[in-house]
């Protein structure tokens, strides 16, 4: 028996009420809007939270306090920043390609929201249980490079162009290892659907069950997702000390905030994917055979598990950022093509062999 009310019951209740009150088509439309609004609110709230958390964490890592004055413990700092950006003038440079310049931030933001679609937040809480969820995420998330290239090209600024080109090279290369890392788990669980992968981890997370190949895949995935996010130590696209601000050098106000938001959204999505695929998503910590432990873990609701894991990975990514120096562009590409990609390919072969023999736990 579960004491907590699961989110699934709440959504079911809303669904049945809407269906009884309205025509099913209308109800469906309302549900779509509600879900969309919920996701956007969640992302914006999490982005604000994350900005605050990152600044606080950075502060603590650097022996200082971080934001303190706005709200209790500076808790309203990120809110103030977002509001200021909203109210700031959006400049469009005279010699830029104005249409592309204005569209680019929307492209990047929409793409990052689109990747949220197949994520399972808790048991049954999923916008679209598509049967190719993992494939969908890898395919859609790489679209953001188009927005970045658009931004860099249309700004008519050489720093922006260099930043965008770097970003393009970086995202396209790191997609490969990232995809191969996901394939390892896909092979073992035998499904591309997110809910299927989560269900397959009911008796233990893949990172434990799949031992060596999955651990290698997990590490590869964290590295590649940091690179795909353009975050330090792979933040070459915006490398502040080299290219001032990279592809968004010319963006100001809300347009800049949208790049910022999309960066954070991508960060959540990739952390959520990592949490789902490798760390069991909303599945509690289960070990085959230990029923007492498994039963105890079930008392913690799935959404707590899910966000706990997500924040753990987010913390890792933040930790990287405030610790490592930046790589150079050729070293960055060398790391991918000479180390990560061969390792991933061999790892996939190894994982295939293990999956074939059924040697995972």
């Amino acid at each position: 028996m579960q004491l907590s009310i699961s989110l699934l019951e709440i959504t079911r209740a809303i669904d049945s009420w809407l269906n009884s009150a309205f025509h099913p088509h209308v109800a469906y439309g309302i549900e779509l809007v509600l879900a969309g609004v919920a996701v956007i609110l969640l992302v914006v709230a999490m982005a604000i939270l994350m900005v605050y958390a990152e600044r606080k964490l950075a502060g603590f890592m650097q022996m200082r306090l971080g934001p303190m004055r706005v709200g209790k413990w500076g808790s309203m700092q990120a809110v103030a920043d977002v509001m200021k950006l909203l109210l700031k003038e959006c400049l469009v440079p005279t010699n830029s390609d104005k249409l592309m310049f204005r569209v680019a931030p929307f492209v990047v933001t929409i793409v990052s929201f689109m990747t949220l679609v197949p994520i399972a937040f808790a048991k049954g809480i999923q916008l679209w249980d598509i049967n190719i969820g993992v494939f969908y995420i890898t395919a859609v998330s790489s679209l953001s490079v188009i927005g970045i290239l658009m931004a860099g090209w249309s700004s008519n600024n050489k720093y922006s162009l260099l930043g965008a080109m770097r970003s393009g090279a970086q995202i396209v290369s790191y997609e490969l290892s990232g995809g191969l890392a996901l394939i390892v788990v896909v092979m073992m669980s035998g499904t591309l659907s997110i809910s299927g992968i989560v269900q397959a981890q009911a008796d233990g997370w893949w990172v434990i069950k799949g031992h060596i190949p999955v651990i290698i895949a997990f590490v590869t995935f964290i590295i590649t997702s940091t690179a795909e996010l353009n975050r330090a130590p792979f933040d070459l696209a915006e490398a502040e000390s080299e290219l001032t601000a990279g592809y968004h050098t010319e963006y100001s106000g809300m347009q800049f905030a949208m790049f910022f938001l999309s960066e954070y959204t991508n960060m959540f999505v990739l952390s959520m994917v990592a949490a789902t695929v490798f760390l069991g998503g909303w599945m509690p910590f289960h070990l085959a055979g230990l029923d007492g432990l498994n039963h105890f873990m079930d008392y913690i609701p799935g959404i707590v598990w899910f966000f706990g894991k997500t924040f753990f990975i987010l913390f890792l990514i933040v930790w990287f950022r405030w610790t490592f120096p930046r790589l150079r562009i050729d070293q960055l590409l060398k790391l991918e093509w000479k180390y990560l990609l061969p390792v991933s390919i061999i790892n996939v072969l190894f994982a295939a062999f293990i999956a074939l023999m059924g040697w995972y736990l």
Partner: protein, 369 residues
Amino acid sequence: METKDIKHDEFVINVGPQHPSTHGVLRLELWLDGEDIIDSKPHLGYIHRGIEKMSEALGYKQFIYLTSRMDYLSAHISNQACSLAIEKGLQIEAPARAQVIRVLMAELTRLASHQLWWGALGLDLGAVSPFFYAFREREMILEIFEETCGSRLTMNYITPGGVVNDLHPDFVKKVKKLIEQLKGNLHEYYQLLTGNVILQARTRGVGKLTAEDAVSLGCTGPVARASGVKCDVRKLHPYDGYDKVEFEEVLNDKGDNFARYWLRIEEMKQSIYIIEQLIDNIPEGSYREKLKGVVKLPAGEYYQRVETARGELGVYIVSDGKKEPYRVRFRTPNFSNLNALRPMLKGAKIGDMVSMMATLDLIIPDIDR
């Protein structure tokens, strides 16, 4: 270079005058082929304040204070250079106590300067945290300066004939505490940055400067010493009793970015060593030779070299016997060290430019004066 044709796929990019990695207002014109740098050209003068011209209108005791604003991270040492040049002209020597105080202050300045460099290097290479760790000790040093000199950055403490006022009673205690802390923290520097794989990859074998080039380009200080050129003025032309203290001239023959990095870290250890020797042996006595209100140097010319945190600073005073110098010339280390940038940049990547600028440790007001 002026008439250089830009080929189809090359482009020109301006780095600076407002750019985070130029540490001020240097402007570099880069010819790029994608990420590769074909050629570069520095544009100076964005902070040219005419210090040499202004010195001609000020008295001997006054123009010293302009030099604090030149290489503001080696303010003590610049003041020391001018004071020594004037003392040479007056044929006096600072009292023993003043000399020791000067050396102590100079070495503390060197420590503070190298720490700022270390933090800024981290910032340039994209690691933010070292900056804060570097400023932890730097602030302690600045506190010591403040107590004795009354100012944090532009001290104006060393004056012809000695130092302006006596040491603060807490000076010895605080310096000892600082040294204790620094010794422990140099290990932290290693953990945070020196031992990092990425830092090593970014600096090793990058920005090579051969000894011949270093000599021909007029490089001094850590930049030249990292290429194996012996040029420490403290050893070659000892002043203010540097010949009485023991220390090593750190040398490296690799000549790349990491050599310069390593050398500065080692120099910090040497500075600590010098301070350790002197801190318990500050002689008693007067801290300043009393000079006349208006100093006049006999006609002639006086050249004084000192070793700042960035290399050899030469002060060249031409006197015509009046109360103002006829001509003052500062041979600043950064001006010549900047020369090394162009040969290094050829064929490098944009990312390398940042690490080269960081390890050259340029102070732009010192170049422009």
